[in-house]
Amino acid sequence: MWNNENSENSGNSGNGANGASTGNSGAIGAESAASAGSTGGGANGAGGEKAQSLFHSVTLDSEKCKGCINCIKRCPTQAIRVRNGKASIINERCIDCGECIRVCQNRAKLPIYDALGALARYKYTVALPAPALYGQFSHLDNIDIVLNALKSFGFDDVYEVAKAAEIVSDYTRSLMEEDRTLPRPLISSACPAVVRLIRVRFPELLAHLLPLNAPIEVAAKLALAGAQAAHPDLARRDIGIVFISPCAAKVTAIRNPVSLEKSEVDAVFAIKDIYPHLLGKMKDIAQLDEEDIPEILSAGRMGVSWCGSGGETAALLSENNLAADGIENVIKVLEELEDERLGELDFIELNACTAGCVGGVLTVENPYVAHTRIKKLRKFMPISLNHFTAEQRETLLWGKPVKSDSVMKLADDYAEALGKMQRLKEIVDSLPGLDCGSCGAPTCEALAEDVVRGAAKESDCIFKLRDYVQNLVSDMNKLEGYIPPPFRMPE
């Protein structure tokens, strides 16, 4: 399983590369190249536990991949190798952070999400816009224009993720005040890439995760409950709860949730896919007099601010918190926390993407520009409009504990792992230590690890290979000078 060819994901994308995204594609055909597969629907039913646990939101367009080493070098969990001239993801290690998508110059790494046409699958649809959406548009001065444009696009209703974020923040504040048994600092569990990173690389810190579902999951449950209450005649399968997402990692988190049995999100649309469609609708709505634009917005500054790094901590209304963004910075913070160097903090907000969710791979706008726009938009908004109520407790609390996934260990048996580690260190000492990547592994240490796992050979190192050839040449030279005894002359 270690070096599998990412077959499930490639299979999903297969035809997606050339606009398999049906329906409303048109102008965005090229951009929605990877809109393949469905995140909800069939995924939860078929496939089984194993297949689901291997699903990732990143796939490879092998036509475009040149087998360069840019992505293997950038991957924070060393989850990519170049094999047979193409990048190949070790699924067990991928945390869906999107770094490989960002760094690929050939656009061969593609995020997976749903095509806009998926909307037609449902009789009644609710859009769940991430607050990052509001920062994508220049000259926008009223968030209701975006929310109404979602309805004009075809959604029957809108439930802002920012509303759920405010409820999560409210409950977090009371948990931190009332439940002194929770370890400090608590770590936000909202970013799925961070949660997966902790599961695979920092299992020691799992107890620090805030045991609350992410705002998108809370929003989905509340939106569904609202839709079912308003339309009791509709069957569950007729209702489409659709997340408008800045982030590909959410696709994995929704398809294979770790803190609840089943996500109520039925489809995930990329902000960048729906963006051009919204632009047209927004133009029409902006023509209306302000009082004629229906008021949908029902979140305050707190919820909307969750889109950027520091938003979640600001909503805690206390100072002893830290917010870090960008996967490398996140790793540094977790390393320090593991060494008990951050014990004096109460809360840590971590976002895998630079600048927070506005930096997600499915967005259009530069994250800093988007964040600045949101700061302007929220300026005259009320602080918070949504509060936690006791009956929401079940909706917010994790349905099951988040478990570690020890993909790093060399063997299940400790003695065997110890032996392999011996061998690994010996191999590392014999390698040049240049981390050149020519063997297809990101570092010499990673190659040594692949060798002891049986997934590579020492001679995959071009410097080792050169040594072998040199030895071979010198042996041949010796042989060439060899004179059989009958012909040897006395010295």
Binding site: E204, D339, E340, M408, K425
Partner: protein
Amino acid sequence: MQKNLRLHYDISGDDYTRAGEASAQLKQVLRQLGLSSSIIRKVAIAMYEGEINMVIHANGGTIDVEIDSACISLVLRDTGPGISEIDLAMKEGYSTASENVRSMGFGAGMGLPNMRKHSDYMKLESTPGVGTTVHMKISIGEE
């Protein structure tokens, strides 16, 4: 009979920004060995405190790690000024760190006590003017 796994780390003395690198590397090895979170955490904290001590007081040193089927042994050696009053140094909160070091958030006097707390065995040998050697053992046994 299986050989023990031996690892060696050189700790440079003048660079606070690199303190913690050795313990981060050792953590990676322990994860690859599949050891439990609680053991990894104990080793990481004990080693990090030792590393910091070497950087602050002793202008660096070396850390030798030996891992066998039952335990992880750490030997931290430096040729620094040594510790004259070991009993006092082991007290929580006792610190000889300079104001400069404290201003960086180190030197709270918890280093040695934390090392003792997180290891199953600890022995400190020190000769003023010669250096300090700390032996620590953390057992891997079933929890």
